[in-house]
Symmetry: C2
């Protein structure tokens, strides 16, 4: 699954790729076939120079004086990001947030499928969310078919769930809890903290920057 | 509400404040009274130098050779971030994600209260989530009591809702949709895109960085 790159791609560049991808999907929907890096700037707020530099990591796609073929670039970025394949996800914690994520149609549109849901609550185990039966976390598979794990349990249970996931071969964990989790170095952890978003917003508002 | 600072605080510093705050709460819970910047590093992964530099924006709090009083620093950061006051939030879009956010207890712990919920769906209007009645978005107040607005509607309705919010005096919008929203320069917009988190994770995993 590893990609060979011309240069080492920077973390911020990786973070910008989904923005380009979304903008390109929007151009496509509107029937636009060719765009300039300025069009991309107007859509995403990312400067033309930056956009061109980011694309250069992957060999560049523009045609001098013409711009970028929307469809071609969409395909390329989708392939770079591995979004042209389906991604199987396992979620542990079928509470409010976990259930909402499972029901959220936006993930499916981007080829992310939450195929398995686990919980430890006997009241939840056996129930269904969108056709998927909630299973007992004690029966988490020894070798997971999914390679991305989502944690939406109470904070105090986060580390335990992370350990189970790592043991079963999960390669990346998206941690929605407040708790910091520690894993093997080879496992990628992404923390998504919704309270933080509110706190940062208040803080920025306070300093009006 | 504006704060006077010794120096202009950087955006990354603002983003780190909630991490310090959470770590401090955890130290408090464990009965720890004094910490060093190294303790903070072990907890948050943010280097001691960076921590000291961030605090210096606000005048510095450490005692040479002693470290930091946990309780005092918690109070100070809480006050800097305005987290010692309650924050009233209005949410538009009572779907899966919106409802989950309303039900999420983590926000209340940090003094964020979703006090009003609106939707345009007649099936949802009049129903209750956690004691709050879902009201018709057409009846959104002309002058909102809340100053933070959360948008969890389908992407195509995001701009319309943002316009309503801005008109009613909302100062900051947290946009959970895929859609870019355009507002007056004085209104702070924070985009939280959950699909992006998955896409970035896949992308990072692909490049194993």
């Amino acid at each position: 699954m590893k990609k060979i790159l011309k240069h080492k791609i920077s973390q911020p560049a990786i973070s910008r790729l989904p923005l380009y991808f979304r903008a390109l999907l929007d151009f496509q929907q509107k029937g636009i076939e060719l765009i300039s890096s300025k069009d991309m700037f107007l859509k995403t707020g990312i400067k033309a120079d930056q956009f061109r530099k980011d694309l250069s990591y992957f060999g560049g796609f523009g045609i001098q004086g013409y711009g970028y073929h929307v469809k071609q670039l969409t395909g390329a970025i989708s392939s770079i990001m591995n979004l042209n394949k389906t991604h199987s996800i396992v979620l542990v914690g079928a509470g409010n947030l976990g259930s909402a994520l499972k029901k959220y149609s936006g993930f499916r549109k981007w080829n992310f499928f939450i195929d398995e849901v686990y919980d430890s609550d006997p009241k939840k185990i056996g129930r269904k969310i969108e056709g998927i039966t909630i299973r007992d976390v004690k029966k988490f598979p020894k070798k997971s078919k999914a390679y991305i794990g989502v944690i939406t349990v109470p904070a105090e249970a986060a580390q335990k769930v992370a350990d189970i996931m790592v043991k079963s071969g999960i390669k990346a964990i998206i941690n929605f809890t407040n708790s910091k989790i520690i894993t093997d170095k080879n496992v990628l952890v992404r923390n998504v903290n919704l309270v933080n978003e509110f706190a940062i917003t208040t803080c920025r508002l306070t300093f009006q920057q």
